[in-house]
Symmetry: C2
Amino acid sequence: MDVSDIKQYMQFVGKAARTASRSIAKADTATKNRALIAMADAVRRDQALLLAANAKDLDKARAKGIEAAMIDRLTLSAKGVATMAEGLLQIATLPDPVGEITDLNFRPSGIQVGKMRVPLGVVGIIYEARPNVTADAAGLCLKAGNAAILRGGSEAIHSNQAIAACVKEGLLSAGLPETAVQVIETTDRAAVGELITMQDYVDVIVPRGGKSLIERIAHEARIPVIKHLDGVCHVYIDEQADIEKAIRIADNAKTQRYGTCNTMETLLIHRNIANKVLPALSKIYLDKGVELRGDSTACAMVTAMKLATEQDWYEEYLAPILSIRIVDDLDQAIDHITQFGSQHTDAIVTENYSHAQRFLREVDSSSVMVNTTTRFADGFEYGLGAEIGISTDKIHARGPVGLEGLTSQKFIVLGDGQIRQ
Amino acid sequence: MDVSDIKQYMQFVGKAARTASRSIAKADTATKNRALIAMADAVRRDQALLLAANAKDLDKARAKGIEAAMIDRLTLSAKGVATMAEGLLQIATLPDPVGEITDLNFRPSGIQVGKMRVPLGVVGIIYEARPNVTADAAGLCLKAGNAAILRGGSEAIHSNQAIAACVKEGLLSAGLPETAVQVIETTDRAAVGELITMQDYVDVIVPRGGKSLIERIAHEARIPVIKHLDGVCHVYIDEQADIEKAIRIADNAKTQRYGTCNTMETLLIHRNIANKVLPALSKIYLDKGVELRGDSTACAMVTAMKLATEQDWYEEYLAPILSIRIVDDLDQAIDHITQFGSQHTDAIVTENYSHAQRFLREVDSSSVMVNTTTRFADGFEYGLGAEIGISTDKIHARGPVGLEGLTSQKFIVLGDGQIRQ
């Protein structure tokens, strides 16, 4: 395929996706699952090929002097290939959301009105280095009855093309159109600009990657975008928290993994419990090498703590750094989260019923938790099976987005000759 | 309030709405209902005032030589005022969607994960002449826990301001901020441009009006838009239709009202049943003064029928005109709807189980019906209580949009000290 004329090429891809989306929308569960299993088989069989393609990408990336974190995300191991295949098989075991009928009730007129779950159509996914997203996203879109257009990072082009070959093989072996999943064959950035403005051919865009990439896409897109920009997650230790739970949760929320979007970045502690939890927690954090930045009250309690600046409260560190603020009450905690948070995930630790209820109701984030760690904010942990991303927006999907978020609901009406008076 | 600097004025309105949205989101059901009832009381009490304000708008509109249909939509009668008050009282009786918790299940990790329904935040509504939308939209947004910014047509400015005074009185009497519902105080068109681009202050835009208004808003908005452009609705009379039901439904779908978006615009008839239904139906239509435009096969059967052009299949007449096409089978009917329809509402008349199932599944419209009239596509008929509009999009809401479409769902997680391993 000639990819030199980007606009023409992307129009071609878009048209093919729209056409394929009609077949995929009609495909029955068994057919979609057969394709997913065949994809997994092909991925396993082609392990050596996939690793060789990945090595090509890695050589190029190293030659370009790309940073270590990016190389890490780009690297595909034998274990990574196995995980990719397992992921596809897991998606095959998930219930098919398409065609699900709910809330079918009789109305006074005699008609029966309900909702049927339907695919969105064509999903455009834009992601950075991780090649495994190619298989995950293709699998999720297919199971939800959508066609997918995938635009991976240019550094991963060989890996992505090799994975795409396995995906295509799986589609064809189940009798589905290979254009149901298309991986953009050019690394030209103009392709992204086309993808996010092809309103006739693409129904939703899911960008995954750094904040600047997502901001740019959200700004330029002429198509709805399912996204989150960042995860400035909070744990608030209430005056009436169980001390042991509070320490365990605040430790886990920060230190179980530093680089994930659901990691706690700011710890809020009620003034009256601070001296019971902060010394023990600080020791845990400092022993694990976490840098602490607190307000003046917190700093007065822990000598190794630096004074936080206003900017710290807005910061998604994605690193072993934690900001800590001592608050006067629940209201101040909620106000802090409203002002500085990113509506991703926030937790309260409390044994007080009314405080728990107020926190659940008033904190306006995509996930709100009581007595557990923000690290649970994840499609798999929530039982969604897998996630295509996390949304902090309120339109369409909010929180981890799985198969359901890749579908919509239409109304169905069953009558027996009724007419409107 | 100085409205000469539109940008500054709209920023002021936006900020006030965002602040008010926090109070409204927290307001309990009884408070919101008290406000709705007080609004209805004020509307009833102020009937004379409302009619006088409306008379002012009508005088101006007539002086400007505005067309009769517009005058009709602009006119508020004593009965219209009563209906407006009743509408507000009906909204008070609807269940409060905010805070509803569903799907709360335990996960293997021990956490309980569910969803809580939450308001969207600030809803911007842009509408044309009908002043009753001011009360309806204010009531629905309030009950769903949202602040609202209303921008009515400039022709209705006095009527809308008078209704807004009743709305404000209701809010204040229940102790809610009067800025929870703001009616834009200027007729300057630049206000719309500001409203649809204030991403920080407005969460969703609902435009109501003609296709060109909605197209322009959808094109220029930087905020998600809940909309439908037009309603090219179909009834397909299948080969295995019950003749009596087919005639009753096809008659009702076209002639019960001509100017509504859920009125049938194209009738599709299976070749093998055409001679059993078309002569009787044509007589009904012609007796009611409906102009018929058919394909050559249909024209050969009915002498009073004009030949339809390709453009007719795309047309939303909103008038006593109907296009009729004879099709070979179900596939051709579905293909026609896919190609020419507007994904609004489409119905099949059939006694065949498999045809009904295929039509329900494969027709990609916001409402799909079996053996009943497209005229039922309506929030009230569906049991949603009332509707703020109809969406033919797939992101967020599809079909008639009631209280639920004015809300979102966040995840809530209830734990007892669980951490992630």
